[in-house]
């Protein structure tokens, strides 16, 4: 169902790296002592991709309904762990509606119990370059394997549709933390895709959006704005001055958004707790997400984290702060437990799952030679449709800031029925599969 590709030759690694930088626009090819791109791709059976896509689409539909319901339940926003200042921004902003293009990413792990999810990134998930342009570059080395959809293209198409539907003229403000090249690279990728679609876009920070009587404009260059694509985390909006926070809510009310700040209502890891308390149904998502528990009075217990659970910060990203016994460094785990005892509402306990490592010969074969890694698959859903996938891999069963990015390619030869039938000289029909893309290059980085 899942297997690593062959390891790339050193000249292939150099070529992929160079093209990832200057064609795809990936400007963070190195972190600490390791390259950020894995020296192999991950092959996935069409049925596995279809299963993940369906699970992600169903989960996304539920999550959107829960977001709408939570938007009407302001008294529960505090229980989600959302800071007061940010709650005020969500309250002042308009509710999400059909004008907004929606995107999110669900993170799934192959485990001994099947697919298990670690989190949803409902606000500003990254990885668009790796899941799109980099995956296309890698796929050129594997004839017969298909590319999953490119989420950057899909998001650009969704935004372009909103801009045209609005009919007010103007371009797209690509809102991000302007000091961070790693964040800007995502916006530049989106800008390149929007350019391909004939839509103008402008790099901007949240305070650059200003409202005039005739609409929203950018303070930097006076460009008229019809849509705001935000890659600036919603919780960071709380760092702005009060006047800027108020202006953000005011100016974005008049334009299409992606994502509206109400996405934060479903981003935190306390979502299952609050949804349960309110009787909101999350059947598909709950089938993949391990049981989540509050810290509550366990903060006073001698053992804070039961052996079959992991400790997670409510607003943690890229594995930071996650404490897994036997995996997380002792000092880091001790620090996480100490903070959880002091601020129990900022942490949750989640039932632990057993990640199954993947090698060239597939899964559950611990004696394999060569690369064997733990993998997490990020599946994008844009406007309700599965729109891409890529993986992050690590030698240990914790995907954190030191994990590497790996392209995910669809390999029909991994289909279990196909393998069985091939052995018997028969042919089996492929399962229904979400859209796949050709590896034709398109829209180089701006």
């Amino acid at each position: 169902m899942i297997a690593l590709s062959r390891r790339f030759e050193s000249d292939e690694i150099r070529d992929i790296r160079r093209r990832a930088i200057f064609e795809a626009g990936k400007f963070d090819p190195q972190t600490y002592d390791e390259p950020t791109l894995a020296p192999f791709a991950i092959r996935i059976a069409p049925s596995a991709w279809a299963e993940l896509a369906t699970l992600a689409e169903r989960s996304a539909e539920e999550i959107r309904e829960v977001e709408q319901a939570l938007h009407e339940e302001r008294r529960h926003w505090s229980a989600l762990g959302i800071p007061r200042v940010v709650r005020a921004i969500i309250g002042a902003a308009r509710a999400a509606d059909a004008r907004d293009a929606r995107f999110c990413r669900f993170d799934f792990h192959p485990t001994t119990e099947g697919w298990r999810a670690s989190e949803i990134n409902a606000d500003v998930p990254g990885g668009f370059i790796e899941a799109g342009a980099v995956t296309r570059i890698v796929s050129e080395r594997f004839a017969g394997l298909a590319c999953p959809p490119d989420p950057a293209r899909a998001l650009a198409a969704a935004i372009a549709r909103r801009v045209r539907d609005a009919g007010i003229g103007g371009g797209v403000a690509l809102v991000h933390a302007t000091s961070y090249a790693d964040d800007q690279q995502v916006m530049r990728r989106l800008a390149a895709e929007l350019t391909e679609l004939g839509v103008a876009s402008h790099l901007a920070s949240p305070v650059h959006l200003s409202d005039r009587r005739d609409g929203c404009v950018l303070a930097t260059n006076g460009a008229r704005i019809a849509a705001a694509a935000r890659f600036f985390p919603g919780e960071w909006l709380g760092n702005m001055r009060r006047v800027d926070r108020a202006r953000w809510a005011r100016t974005t009310a008049a334009v299409a958004q992606t994502n509206p700040v109400s996405a934060l209502l479903v981003q935190g890891k306390r979502l299952p707790l609050v949804a349960r308390a309110l009787g909101l149904r999350l059947e598909a998502w709950s089938s993949a997400l391990p049981e989540t528990r509050p810290i509550g009075l366990r903060r006073f217990a001698p053992t804070l984290v039961p052996r079959d659970h992991v400790l997670k910060p409510v607003w943690g990203r890229i594995g930071e702060g996650v404490a897994i016994e036997g995996v997380t460094a002792r000092a880091d785990a001790r620090r996480a437990r100490a903070w959880a005892r002091v601020f129990p509402k900022s942490w949750v306990l989640q039932r632990r799952f057993t990640s199954v490592p993947v090698g060239e010969r597939g899964m559950l074969e611990p004696a394999q030679a060569g690369d064997v890694v733990h993998a997490c698959f990020g599946v994008y859903v844009i406007d309700g449709r599965a729109a891409g996938i890529y993986a992050r891999v690590a030698r240990k069963p914790l995907i954190d800031g030191r994990a590497q990015d790996a392209a995910v390619l669809i390999d029909p030869s991994l289909e279990p029925d196909l393998e069985r039938n091939a052995a018997h000289g028969r042919h089996a029909p492929l399962p229904r599969m979400p859209e796949v893309h050709s590896n034709e290059p398109h829209g180089a980085a701006a």
Binding site: F27, Y180, D182, H208, G319, D400, G401
Partner: protein, 251 residues
């Protein structure tokens, strides 16, 4: 006649044969080459006499943009491998940090490096812009200040594997931004010796006190009380977020 591209200068700054090339930041090489290009300032080599290549020493140059480049190229002539770590963004409207001179310098420097035959094992000199955190952005400006993080540089273990035992910080005067202090503290904690070279005097001295935990703490308190404020332009301010938090990964 084809228009020169800065991208084509990248291989000169990050040649395949050098192990340190992996850390060269590529983002600046993705920007268009400015039409107006002033030459790099001349560099007086005598201020660098205290720095010797192949003496188990790496160098970090923390000087204003083009000076950092000029100093890096002077050290390249002495046998070091310059590695540019400029990680600045480019935006619309008026940018807080004018990067055009650095872009022009990178282009000019590629020509200089092409004429040098640096040893594949040449020790690294990491180039930073001392202006990277300077200034305040008005709401109409594009805040492209940036920081250096430990993950932007090789670990002490990696440096030691290349027989590097000490690091010299080349700067003007005695100032050091807190982001760089964090990187150097980590290296020092992992066993590398640290010293600073003031290019104004050419004198080198140990960095132990500047990197002490107490001074680090006091500096943080001072900034909290005097310097830090809420930043509303997507740049830096009271809370400096972790860049990787949004760039790519997930758990």
């Amino acid at each position: 006649m084809t228009t020169p591209r800065l991208q084509d200068a990248f291989p000169a700054w990050a040649p395949e044969e050098s192990r340190w090339s992996a850390w060269a930041k590529p983002v600046m090489f993705s920007y268009p080459l400015p039409a107006q290009r002033a030459p790099l300032p001349a560099w007086d080599d005598t201020s660098l006499q205290a720095v010797q290549p192949f003496g188990g020493e790496a160098v970090v140059v923390d000087l204003p943009g083009v000076e950092s480049l000029a100093c890096g190229l002077a050290l390249a002539r002495r046998g070091f491998r310059p590695i540019p770590l400029f990680n600045t963004t480019m935006g619309e409207g008026q940018e807080l940090i004018d990067i055009d001179p650095i872009l022009a310098g990178l282009f000019e420097g590629a020509g200089v490096l092409g004429g040098l035959r640096l040893h594949a094992e040449a020790p690294p000199v990491f180039l930073l812009d001392a202006q990277r955190l300077k200034g305040t952005a008005a709401p109409t400006m594009f805040d492209n200040r940036w920081m250096v993080f430990p993950q932007d540089l090789p670990s002490a273990r990696m440096l030691r594997a290349a027989e590097i035992r000490s690091v010299t910080l080349v700067r003007r005067g005695s100032s050091m931004e807190p982001d760089l202090r964090g990187v150097l503290r980590l290296w020092r904690r992992e066993g590398l010796e640290m010293r600073a070279l003031d290019v104004t005097t050419g004198a080198a001295q140990p960095l132990a006190i500047e990197l002490s935990a107490m001074l680090f703490f006091l500096e943080h308190i001072r900034r909290l009380l005097t310097g830090l404020r809420k930043n509303s332009s997507g740049g830096f301010g009271g809370t400096v977020p972790v860049p990787q938090a949004t760039g790519g990964g997930y758990a």
